[in-house]
C-alpha cells in the first residue's frame, strides 16, 4: 500500500508542491494581515481559498485523467494489487494534498487569533465548524474531480475546475459554515465516493 501511495505522490508531485506553496502563502498572508489589517485581507484570503479548492478539483481530475492516459491501472492490476488498493492510494493522496493546505492554515489562524484577536478566539467552536466545512468543501471538490476526470471531453474538465469550486462556495454561502452545510457536503462526498468506487470496480481496464 505504501508503494502505491508513494507512486501516487510522485506522479502528482506538482500538485503537492503547489499545495505546500499555497499553504506557505496563506500562512504568510494570515500573519501579515493579522498584524496590519485583518479586514483588508479577507478578500485576498477568500480568493486564495477558492484557488486552493479549484486545485483540489483539478487534482482529482488529473489523477483519473492521468491514469487513463498512461494506462496505469491496467498495468497495476496485473501486479499484486487490487482495484480497491489503487483507489485507496488515490484517495489518501488527495486527502493528503487537502490537509497540506488546510492544516497549517487552520493552525496558523488559530494561533494568530488566540494571540492577536482573543475576542474572536472566544468563539472556538465556530473556528472548528469553519475548518471542518472548508475541509469538506475541498474534499467534495476533489471527489467531484475524480468523477468528472473519467470524461474524455477536455473542455468539460476545464469548465469543471472553474465551476465546481464556485458551486461549493455558493452552497456554503447559502447554508453558512456549520452542521447544515457539513451534512449536505457529507452526503455529496458519500455519493461521489460510492459512484467513483462502483465505476472503478466495474469498468473494464
Amino acid at each position: 500500500m505504501f508503494t502505491l501511495i508513494k507512486r501516487e505522490i510522485t506522479d502528482h508531485i506538482p500538485h503537492l508542491i503547489l499545495a505546500v506553496a499555497l499553504a506557505a502563502t496563506m500562512v504568510g498572508l494570515l500573519v501579515y494581515f493579522t498584524l496590519v489589517d485583518l479586514d483588508e485581507g479577507v478578500a485576498v484570503l477568500v480568493s486564495l481559498g477558492l484557488f486552493a479548492i479549484a486545485g483540489c478539483c483539478s487534482m482529482g481530475i488529473a489523477q483519473v485523467y492521468g491514469d487513463r492516459a498512461n494506462k496505469i491501472s491496467p498495468f497495476l492490476v496485473t501486479l499484486p494489487v487490487t482495484r480497491a488498493q489503487i483507489l485507496t492510494a488515490r484517495l489518501v493522496t488527495g486527502v493528503l494534498a487537502i490537509l497540506i493546505v488546510l492544516l497549517p492554515t487552520v493552525i496558523a489562524a488559530t494561533v494568530l487569533l488566540d494571540r492577536y484577536v482573543p475576542a474572536l478566539f472566544f468563539y472556538w467552536q465556530a473556528i472548528v465548524e469553519v475548518s471542518l466545512t472548508l475541509f469538506l468543501v475541498a474534499l467534495a471538490c476533489y471527489c467531484l474531480g475524480l468523477l468528472i476526470g473519467s470524461s474524455t471531453r477536455k473542455l468539460l474538465l476545464v469548465a469543471a475546475c472553474l465551476l465546481v469550486p464556485f458551486l461549493m462556495m455558493t452552497l456554503v454561502a447559502v447554508k453558512g459554515f456549520g452542521p447544515q452545510a457539513m451534512a449536505v457536503l457529507g452526503l455529496l462526498i458519500l455519493a461521489a465516493v460510492v459512484r467513483v468506487v462502483t465505476k472503478f470496480s466495474s469498468t473494464p481496464l
Partner: protein
Amino acid sequence: MNDSPIVIENLVKYYEGRCVLDGISLEVPRGCIYGLLGRNGCGKTTIIRILLGLEPPTRGRTELLGQDSTRLSAQTHGRIGYVAEGHNLIQNYKVGRLVGLCKGLSLHWNDEFFGHLVDTFRLPMHRKVKELSAGMRAELNLALAMAIDPELLILDDPTLGLDTVARRQFLELAIDLIQKQNRTILFSSHILADVERIADRIGIIVAGKLVVDCEQDVLKSRVKKLQVLFTGKPPEDLYITEIINQRIEGREMVLTVANWNNQKQAILETFNPTSCTELPMTLEDIFIECSRPAQAILVD
C-alpha cells in the same frame, strides 16, 4: 476444488450485441504449456482479460489458481506473471522507476534472475518506457513477468515485435521456466512455429467457439490430410464424418479429416481410389484448416 490453475466454464462474452465468445470451456492442467490459437479478433485476448479480471464475462465462470477471476486477491495476482498484447507498461515512467514499482509491489522478486534478463536483453534503465522500441518493451514486459517467479505465466502474443534472436531467447526462457516444477503457461501467439515448439496442449478458437482442445501430439495424430487420386472425377457423395476441409481438382481430392480411423479408411476404399497419400501437416497447416468454416470439433 479444481486443482487446474486455469478453469473456464461456459464462457460467453458479448461486445455491443456481438457474440465474441460463445460458450468456451477449457481447463489447463498444472505444469502444462497451453497454446491458445485463433485469428485476429477471435477472442483470445478477451479470454485472457476475463481470466485476469480486467473485464467481466457476460455469462460463465473463470478461475485462476483456484480463485474466481472476478474476485482475484492481490496474493493470487502475485503468483501470476502476465505479458499483455501491446505491452501495456506505464509509458511515461523511466524503466528503472517501473522496475522499482514492480519490485516494491511484488510478493516475491528474483533479483538475480531479473538482473540476468536485463543483461541478456540489454535494457536501458535510464530511458523512458515510451522511448523504447516495441521489441525492447516486449523484453521489459517479459522480464518483469518472469522476475516474480510466477506459478502461472500468461503470455498474450508475447513475441510480437521481437526479432528472431530475442524470440528464440524468449522461448528458451519459457522452456526453462516450465522445467521448474508446477509452472503453467498460457500462451497465445500468431507465430505458430513458436507455439508448436513449446506448447503441450493446443486450443483453437474459431468464431467464438473452441474447436480444438487437446494435446499437440494427439492433435497432430488425429488430423490427417489425404491426397486421394481417382481414375475419373472424384465422387461427390463421399460422406465421411468430421471432414474439416475438402478440395477437388481434376482427378485429385485433398481431404482434411479429424479423428481418422480404420472405419473412415474403409469407407474411402469403397470409392476405389487409385492412390491415397497422407500429406505431412504442421501445426500451422492444422490451424489454417481448422480456421475455415464448417470444421469438425476436436475436444478431448
